[in-house]
């Protein structure tokens, strides 16, 4: 178990390094420099700025310095567009919003998804199976920014006073979380149903019935663990998808989260801020995937007990 975890950790660190490197050089490869766009700076101010951002050093040295600052000091540097504000600060402000959005979406996806998948599986080929599955089919194909608008219009039609794009109260979070979560709820729903149905056709379920166990025991104790495994492994790519999707959702609902920060900084060519955002996103995805792997390892005894 420990070796499994260590291997994953090493892989994660390597991946992170690759991401940082590729992003760093990609940004630097952009034509021009970070200060080209704006009103022309007087040469001495320009020189001072370049020194502050190490732009006068050869690129490999810049890279090395950046890495060191990142790993040792956990410092993502100053923003190239926002004077007087560091990237850490800006990201720190945005993170709680994204965190709440992500958490809400995750809960929506998991609860709605597993519940509807469970109901569908237990009512195989009956009405309660077709309805959730058809809805899920739609949910899987509709792009989230389209879904967001559909939901907005629906909600406004029903209750014109619902706060759509404000965070002053908790209700403002409902629509964004729902939108982000529903798409993944659809996939989770289908996976749960599929996984459960497959388990229910296995021989060991027949054994459980032969032992005279009550059906609720058969479902909860015998089927759920195995049936949910495909869902658990899906949670890895699902969380990555939700993080990516949050970019769009934050734009639609005007939420000042990490996604919006990334897009704005990229569009504005804020070198350090956009790099910082990508790194934070990458760390989040990697950490979440690691957690999912661990959970999977715990649940499937065949994985955890084989070195």
């Amino acid at each position: 178990m420990f070796r499994y975890f260590m291997r994953r950790l090493m892989g994660a660190a390597l991946t992170l390094l690759v991401i940082v490197t590729v992003s760093f050089f990609m940004i630097r490869a952009a034509p021009g420099g970070p200060f080209d766009q704006e009103r022309a700076f007087p040469p001495d101010v320009l020189a001072a700025l370049e020194a502050k951002f190490d732009l006068n050093l050869p690129i490999w040295q810049q890279y090395a310095k950046y890495l060191k600052r990142l790993v040792v000091d956990h410092d993502l540097g100053p923003s190239t567009k926002f004077a007087e504000r560091s990237v850490n600060e800006l990201i720190g402000d945005a993170l709680p919003v994204s965190f709440l959005l992500g958490l809400g979406a995750f809960l929506v996806a998991v609860f709605l998804g597993i519940l509807s998948g469970l109901i569908a599986a237990l009512n195989h080929n009956k009405f309660l199976d077709y309805v959730p599955m058809s809805v899920a089919m739609v949910g899987v194909s509709v792009p989230d920014f389209v879904l967001a608008n559909v939901l907005i219009l629906l909600v406004i039609a029903i209750n014109p006073d619902w706060p759509v794009a404000t965070l002053s109260e908790w209700r403002g979070y409902v629509l964004p979380c729902l939108t982000l979560g529903l798409v993944y709820a659809a996939s989770i729903s289908r996976l749960t149903r599929g996984g459960l149905l497959e388990i229910l056709h296995q021989d060991f379920i027949r054994t459980a019935k032969a032992k005279g166990l009550p059906s609720r025991v058969i479902i909860w104790r015998h089927s759920l663990k195995g049936g949910l495994l495909p869902v658990i492994s899906y949670l890895g790519p699902a969380t990555a998808g939700m993080l990516t999707g949050s970019i769009v959702i934050e734009k639609i609902f005007a939420l000042p989260g990490l996604g919006k920060l990334l897009i704005d900084s990229a569009t504005n060519r804020d070198y350090t801020l956009s790099l910082g955002c990508v790194i934070v996103f990458a760390v989040l995805i990697i950490v979440l995937n690691l957690i999912v792997d661990l959970v999977y390892g715990f649940l499937d005894p065949r994985v955890s007990l084989n070195s």
Binding site: F204, K211, G212
Partner: protein, 325 residues
């Protein structure tokens, strides 16, 4: 103790209705071991699944017949009543131990739950009972095994766990559905010895389903031969082996290669192919493969004739009595 009368089971599939069990009757007395022999598709497993109430509804249905177990009619029982009997008075050992155990649960969980849902023993008492049965079955280091997962055990051990599961509550009847087919021959011998031991120790009746006549010879008191969902011959082991009457049984016995055969001797299989179970009707199911078939066989269903109280068969042209070749 178990009486099956005129049981008929049908499967409704996309390709039509298949009659897997066609008017089958048999009984099992307390303490006796009944062997049910037949090829795949003969209906031997389906009959026993029907007894246990484990047929996959809605595709499979008991169309007619009665199953009386310990005086109660099982076909008309509620699901809840059936559930209580299963595991406690009537249990089954399945063929493939590799897929019949839940890979995600510990052995202890899978054993203890049988006791928990059928009796009121405390956890320690239940645990002790499990160890007792495992020891009886010759499982080494029973406590360690209890704490393991199925994938950590060998095939033979897994099958012993399955047997243990069926024994925990001292059932009156155990159905063993080809319990050794998926295992090595050496393990097979051990498992069969175990079953014999259980039968003599606890006076448990056993229905042994198999396609292997050797197993039958060594273990069973009575035998029943099935073909195409019908019982073609039934009786005590001696009668069936030494005074065979039905051509199919004769064919089965003849097809076993013996140690006295010389190099170059041909094997003697039964000619033809397995029957089509969607064709049901008033004719002998074995007629198309039988060397002794007459027009009567092809147009009428042979009734059950009784040779003596230990032997009955369904054939218009039985084989003349003689011993095993």
């Amino acid at each position: 103790m178990l009486e099956v009368n005129n049981l008929t089971v049908e499967f409704h599939t996309d390709n039509g209705v298949i009659r897997a069990v066609d008017g089958v009757s048999f009984h099992v007395r307390p303490g006796e071991i009944l062997g049910i022999v037949g090829e795949s598709g003969s209906g031997k497993s389906v009959s026993c699944l029907a007894i246990m109430g484990l047929l996959q509804k809605p595709a499979a249905r008991i169309v007619s017949g009665s199953i009386r177990f310990m005086g109660k009619e099982l076909t008309s029982m509620s699901d809840e009543a059936l559930r209580q009997i299963r595991g406690r008075d009537l249990s089954i050992i399945f063929q493939d131990p590799f897929t019949s155990l839940n890979p995600y649960l510990k052995i202890s969980t899978q054993l203890l739950e049988v006791i928990h849902y059928h009796s009121s023993l405390s956890k320690t008492e239940a645990f002790a009972r499990c160890i007792e049965i495992l020891d009886l079955l010759g499982v080494p280091d029973a406590e360690v095994r209890m704490d393991s997962y199925p994938h950590q055990l060998s095939g033979g051990l897994k099958q012993r766990i399955m047997i243990a599961m069926s024994l925990l509550l001292e059932p009156k009847l155990i159905i063993a559905d080809e319990p050794t087919t998926a295992l090595d021959v050496t393990i097979q011998a051990q498992i069969l010895e175990l079953l014999k031991k259980i039968n003599s120790l606890k006076h448990t009746s056993i229905i042994m389903i198999t396609h292997d006549l050797g197993v039958v010879a060594g273990l069973c008191d009575r035998v029943q031969v099935m073909y195409a969902g019908r019982v073609v011959e039934a009786g005590s082991t001696d009668e069936i082996f030494y005074k065979t009457r039905h051509p199919y049984t004769r064919g089965l016995l003849d097809s076993i290669p013996s140690l006295e055969m010389k190099v170059g001797d041909r094997l003697r299989p039964i000619p033809g192919s397995p029957p089509d179970l969607s064709r049901v009707g008033e004719f002998c199911a074995f007629a198309e493969r039988c060397t002794r078939a007459t027009d009567q066989c092809r147009t009428q269903r042979p009734p059950i004739s009784t040779e003596n109280e230990h032997h009955s068969y369904a054939c218009f042209n039985p084989v003349a009595s003689r011993g095993v070749a």
